[in-house]
Amino acid sequence: MPLSKRRRARLVRGVQYGVLVVAVVVFALLADWHQLRMAFFDVEVAKALFPDIITTALVNTVLYTLLGFGFGLALGLVLALMRLSSVPPYRWIAVTYIEFFRGIPCLLVFIALGFGVPLAFEVALDMNITVMLSLGLVGAAYMAETIRAGIQAVPKGQTEAARSLGMSHGRAMVSIVIPQAFRIVLPPLTNELILLTKDSSLVYLLGLSLTQFELANFGRDALNEHKSLTPILIAGLLYLVITLPLGQLVRRLEARTAKAR
């Protein structure tokens, strides 16, 4: 007797579950649990990481991210306004900048600013400045495009109403358009902040001193010291401590914008 379509579908799903359960059981039996636990969650190693992994590494990750984000946001806003300017050269500069810095790896910018500039110009940039510029220069390119889209999403009638009240173009931008644009771009900007949090790990390139370690660097250093993966696992979890709430925030903001429409 041929199986009905629905019964066949149920059978296929049953087989899939079966295979999955078998795979999990086999893995559990074969795995060396002791070794795995020692590698990924060695309590002694974990204890040794605290409190420095919080007070130094986590704090530095947040600091580097915020430096890059703050600078990137300011530069991104300027670029977005230039991109929308009625003056052609401004537009050309903004487009060139955005295309250039979106197109090259952030890593390259770190190398250029961390090693290239000091060698070529014989100046030593402060570490925080180097990080701020490297993360910010690249972040600005992305944020400029986001902000431009946000400004363009503000209805034209808003500018017209502002101008008809006698506001100059600049005043209408500052008081009316940009505040509304920022509400629109808050979710994508928060996403950008998440990306920057992860990109901040690129500072490892710069050769940091102990007090400058951020999470990734700290984890790698501890990995060498303890010959254990535990520091990496904990560093990863601490990144999630930053990024998961931000992701949650994005979803909330998006829901709010959706409701406001």
Binding site: G157, E160, A161, R163, S164, L165, S168, I176, Q180
Partner: protein
Amino acid sequence: MTTDRTTAASEDTKAIDVQGLRKSFGELEVLRGIDFSVARGEVVCVIGPSGSGKSTLLRCVNLLEEPSAGRVTVAGTEVTDPDVDIDLVRRRIGMVFQSFNLFPHLTALENLTIAQRRVLHRDRPEAERIARANLERVGLSDKASAYPAQLSGGQQQRVAIARALSMDPELMLFDEPTSALDPELVGDVLAVMRGLAQDGMTMLVVTHEMSFAREVADRVVFMDGGVIVEEGTPERVVGAPQHERTRTFLARVLDPAAAEVSEVADTGAAG
């Protein structure tokens, strides 16, 4: 000020003077030679079919659109003169839009104070005093702290009128202020406008509300195809139109159902 007015004589009695106004969007010529003026204290209603250029005319008066040719003078200042600071002229012209265009991130009160503070540089207490007086004038003193999204369309439009009034304009432009409203909300807005007219405000109003035009307007202008077809008192233009195009338009606006029936029946459209 009174001596000024008497010496400046006839020039100064005109709130708006438009001469040979033309406006093209690319190939499309939307205004094809408009001459007309509005006297101080006068209420002029502009009527006409969709696409006839009514909004464009209004927007040329405060230079939201750049005229292609012709002269536009507002309260003695030629706005089409390239040397004129248009921001200075615009603050003397109130504009009310079909879609309200309130600032959604500001409360009703802030909508009324922001330009007073940033453009006229009034201090906060004075700006708020004037704002509250104008909210009162449009019957919304209890909505000062509401955001636009919390207001009905009719309330939003009245806030928009109060926002324009807070700048102490010498004249007001209205572009179909009630067209986006549910029928039961139209009355409140028209009542506010009627009050303004009674107080002597100079008003140029694009509208499809024929009863308002008939009752409030000193003069009605009928536009079609980018030109003024006829103008005169409401009794003349709405009551006894001289041109066939005006008659056809009025028949459609005053009684849409009847106009359709008569078009289908191919009888005369005028009622």
